[in-house]
Amino acid sequence: MDILTSFVVVPLLTIIGIFFCKSNKQTRVVSAIGMSIQLILAFRLLAMYLYARHGGNTAEMLFMKDYIWFPALNIHYAIGVDGISVAMICLTSIVVFAGIFASWEVEYLHKAFVISLILLSSGVFGFFISIDIFTMFLFYEVAVIPMYILIGIWGSGPKEYSAMKLTLMLMGGSAFLMLGLIGIYVNTGAEGHALTFNILEIAKIHLPHDIQMIFFPITFVGFGVLGAMFPFHTWSPDGHASAPTAVSMLHAGVLMKLGGYGCFRVAMYLMPEGAHAWSTLFITLTAISVIYGAFGAIWQKDLKYINAYSSVSHCGLVLFAILMMNKTAMDGAIIQMLSHGIMTALFFALIGMIYGRTHTRIITEMGGLMKIMPFLAVCYVIAGLASLGLPGFSGFVAEMTVFVGAFQHAETFYRIVTILACSSIVVTAVYILRVVGVLLFGPVTNDHFLQLKDAKWYEKVSTVTLILGITAIGVAPLWLSNLIQDSLTPIVERLSIVQF
């Protein structure tokens, strides 16, 4: 079996393994082993990829496999990875790994919970390895559906409402997406080619200008909903607030990245002319996301809402950077996806752990946690500093790459939106420090909290893994940046050829 398919198969095998488990303990062990294998596989893939590139393999995608799946419509199970997908796969496996450890203590229907979670992750992995947009879409749906079950059953607060809202909005996005994908598919025959779903083949075709003009915004919005683009972001605060810890982690950490990834891999790569024509509108929307999310976060009192709005802001920056359509900014966008993925997973993991102890997420009801649970508090400070873009953590690398890239456009419009986006770093500092100041520092406000215990070993595994991730990117970003920039070359070239 090839290494890429194993990313889908290992989770499925783990699920089968979990079926035979008799106790929660066994389930934990099996799921932890399964996801550790997945993590190791991801880094093995990274090593293999780097080795192959080092050996001079310059193909756009490596480890390609292609099996005909549904001949009548020319749908293939076509897989392959470039540097970007490899990076996203590593991100996913890190977050899933940490998520399994963060949900160690779920007591209610533990087995079913883990199964849904792993099923979700297999959908995400499938999405990232696909180069056939139909299979890509299929895996995307596999990833979205378990979300409804996970939030609806294991969530908190108005969970049915939130689960329904999240699923419906994402399904609405999918509807757009389906339309866009079919639109692309039926027009691939324009120059006498056979109709195809394969990204690499479509990338060689020039889709008719009108078609691009119609289907680019449809596809972009379809993915943009998932990427929490203003004004389609409202599923995110409610959904995250109600979701159980691991689901929030996975959702904000990985699923929202599907949106960003899809936006450039499908919408922009396949329809460059549409991208140019529509970029002004979407850049405006994403710039609004960046600022709006940050200001929205200042006023929130619930930790998860704060983080959800912060995610809107950070993910807005991803789409913003992608739309700048130069290598540097897009490179920054990918690093921002990775960075935000790990960072926000860390945030949600910590929020879950704190909530598990204090049974509240309202910041004003807590205080002085640094004294009670120093380990978790220090991790929270680290996550906060990473989020406000402190050098040494991944957020800084991502933001600076984005800003420098975006500033390479000299037109006034680009300058203004870039300055707007830059100013979010100040607002971010305000809401992060507000939380840190109220929640962690100061005197202990509630005496009942004094008996609470600090992190357990599995919680430490979860948080330390994620912190290592953000520090590794933040301290030595060059190799990652090179990995991404190499793979961006064909995409940026295709985008620049049609510049008009």
Binding site: T328, L385, L390
Partner: protein, 640 residues
């Protein structure tokens, strides 16, 4: 000869110590972390002194000009083809001087803290943060490119945040740390935009290329961008905003007095000697650009500096918290340095202001660190920050008294102490450039002597307070650094700065301007004498004077209500008028319309559901009506 790549160890040693103490510090006795941290900074000290000696007296000078030497350099992040962020060490007169200043003050502070912080909770945390700060500050001054500087600039900011908030259970400390971080962060936004603008026009981050007076980058000023100033000028002004934030220049100064909530050694190291002069260093680092292609930017620097120094000196005269007096004094002295660098020209004797600024930075670091550490010793003995709780301490704290006196005389510009020499150069430079700035600076010199002497007399003379415990002199770990710094404060003035640290690397001759020197000394003495009359013995003169300028005093005492202004803007305007509406808009308009869609769908489905009633009459009615409608349509169509 010396291999300058060793310079990379100067920041790296504290970094290792930060990581080591941070991760393992809680495992062993607190004192071990303290000693380890102190040892590492002393090693850095030895290395930087070696580098300084080798650089200034052996290899730095080629054909009479000090060269810029790259000790170590590696690409950290490749952004575009031309733009890449490097990590490395750049040695030139100002950076070498700065590593000497930083390692000296930092090691004194480390040593002092071993005594001062004894028994505090979080002793190892304190030392790991100190190491983090030392690392960041050293990295900042050694930066080879402006982006590296920005990176360390942020790290310095966060170490300052962590150290101000060291007593995290104290709400005032938490507030102060937040304020410091956010205000400087706001300024850093200017810095960042400046870098973006600058790098876009010059296509490089590299200091050597940027500041080469004959290079291409410096002349790529760009066309007029906005309000009659070129792109380059705007970029440099933006960058200066970043510097002004860190250096607590008006109007971004509000964080500095509050930052005194941190432990006193931290105030000495970060908020007096090193971090707050980063803004001056930044202007000095980009000085050729300022002087050659953006003189308008330099004017801004000079006026901001002059105004800040006057403004802060007035406030300092009215405060009672000794650390706040020192904080305003710091702000005032940094204003002096900004003023000096702002009035300077490039090259030769034109560069007098530049040299004077660096000179004053050096001497100020020594005597201000001494003042703060002395204040720490006083607070340690009296357990209060306020001068009305003190008085007559000269008998109880002899060593602190003598060293503090030396520092007060130095900052007041008493002849033959270091402050006299550096202040005189600044005044001479200001006199040559702009008379208004000169008179303002001269007046500030008098004020400085006054408020420092006021502080001194109130603490060590004046009425004898009845202390609960008789104040005791501090342990040797605290008094030794005081003595060493006192020696530095005296002798630092005899370092021939005009031979070593100049704007273009070439030495030039300066002469003492005796007229200016005697006037400034006169102003200083007048200030001291007035303070002596008012405060050496308990009198009611101060109250009378306060009563005569009541309104003005009230404004100055309340720091001209700048804190209130900022609070108004952030709390009332930003929070209530921006953030709150955004949150409301999001919940009610955006989300409301999403919910609206679902409600409409729901409503329609309820209506359609009505057809499925199970009532035969209704089905029959609908069937008949439908049939009639169909027939009518057919007939209508057939008639055409």
């Amino acid at each position: 000869m010396i291999d300058f790549s060793i310079s990379v160890l100067v920041p790296l040693l504290p970094l290792f110590m930060f990581i080591f103490i941070g991760l393992t510090g809680h495992k062993f006795k607190p004192l071990v972390s303290g000693i380890l941290g102190t040892l590492s900074i002393f090693t850095s000290l030895v290395i930087s002194y070696t580098i300084a000696y080798q650089y200034f007296f052996n290899v730095g000078k080629v054909n009479g000009v000090y060269q810029k030497i790259i000790g170590f350099n590696t690409v950290w992040l490749q952004l575009t083809q031309n733009l890449h962020i490097d990590m490395g060490t750049l040695l030139d007169p100002i950076s070498v001087m700065m590593i000497v200043v930083i390692t000296t003050v930092s090691s004194m502070v480390h040593l002092y803290s071993l005594g001062y912080m004894k028994g505090e909770k979080g002793f190892h945390r304190f030392f790991s943060f100190l190491s983090l700060f030392s690392f960041s500050m050293l990295g900042l001054v050694l930066a080879t490119n402006i982006f590296q500087m920005y990176i360390f600039w942020e790290l310095v900011g966060v170490s300052s945040f962590l150290l101000i908030g060291f007593y995290y259970e104290k709400p005032s400390a938490v507030r102060a740390s937040k304020k410091a971080f956010i205000v400087t962060r706001f300024a850093d936004l200017g810095f960042l935009l400046g870098i973006l603008l600058l790098s876009y026009t010059t296509k490089t981050f590299d200091f050597i290329q940027l500041t080469n007076p004959n290079g291409a980058a410096i002349h790529m000023g760009g066309s007029v961008l906005f309000m009659g100033l070129s792109t380059m000028t705007w970029a440099l002004i933006m960058i200066f905003i970043g510097g002004a934030g860190k250096s607590a220049m008006f109007p971004l100064h509000i964080w500095l007095p509050d930052a005194m909530e941190g432990p006193t050694p931290v105030s000495a190291l970060i908020h007096a000697a090193t971090m707050v002069v980063a803004g001056v260093y930044l202007v000095a680092r980009l000085f050729p650009m300022f002087a050659i292609s953006a003189p308008a930017g330099l004017e801004v620097v000079a006026y901001v500096g002059a105004f800040s120094s006057l403004f802060a000196a007035i406030i300092a005269c009215t405060q009672f918290d000794i650390k706040r007096v020192l904080a305003y004094s710091t702000m005032s002295q940094i204003g002096y340095m900004m003023l000096a660098v702002g009035v300077s020209g490039y090259g030769g004797e034109e560069g007098l202001g530049f040299m004077a600024s660096m000179f004053h930075l050096f001497t100020h670091a020594m005597f201000k660190a001494l003042l703060f550490l002395g204040a720490g010793a006083i607070i340690h003995a009296v357990h209060s920050n306020f001068m009305y709780d003190m008085g007559g301490l000269r008998k109880h704290l002899p060593i602190t008294h003598i060293t503090f006196l030396i520092a007060v005389l130095t900052i007041s510009g008493v002849p033959f102490l270091s402050g006299f020499f550096s202040k005189d150069e600044i005044l001479a430079a200001a006199y040559a450039h702009n008379k208004i700035l000169f008179f303002s600076a001269l007046f500030v010199a008098g004020l400085t002597a006054f408020y420092m002497s006021r502080l001194y007399f109130n603490v060590f003379w004046g009425k004898e307070n009845h202390y609960h415990h008789t104040p005791k002199e501090s342990p040797l770990t605290m008094t030794i650094p005081l003595m060493i710094l006192a020696v530095f404060s005296i002798v630092a003035g005899y370092i021939p700065f005009h031979n070593l640290v100049t704007s273009d690397g070439k030495p030039f001759e300066t002469e003492m301007n005796y007229t200016i020197a005697s006037i400034s000394v006169l102003f200083g003495l007048v200030g001291i004498v007035i303070a002596a009359i008012m405060y050496a013995k308990p009198t009611n003169i101060p109250d009378k004077i306060v009563a005569s300028v009541k309104t003005f005093h009230k404004w100055a005492f309340n720091k001209f209500y700048f804190d209130e202004l900022y609070l108004f803007v952030t709390k009332r305007v930003l929070f209530n008028c921006v953030s709150r509406p955004v949150a409301w808009f999001d919940r009610h308009i955006i989300d409301g319309s999403m919910n609206g869609i679902s409600n409409v769908t729901n409503y329609i489905s309820v209506k359609i559901k009505g057809f499925q009633s199970g009532q035969v009459q209704q089905y029959g009615f609908v069937f008949v009506m439908g049939a009639v409608l169909l027939v009518a349509t057919f007939i209508y169509l057939l008639t055409y």
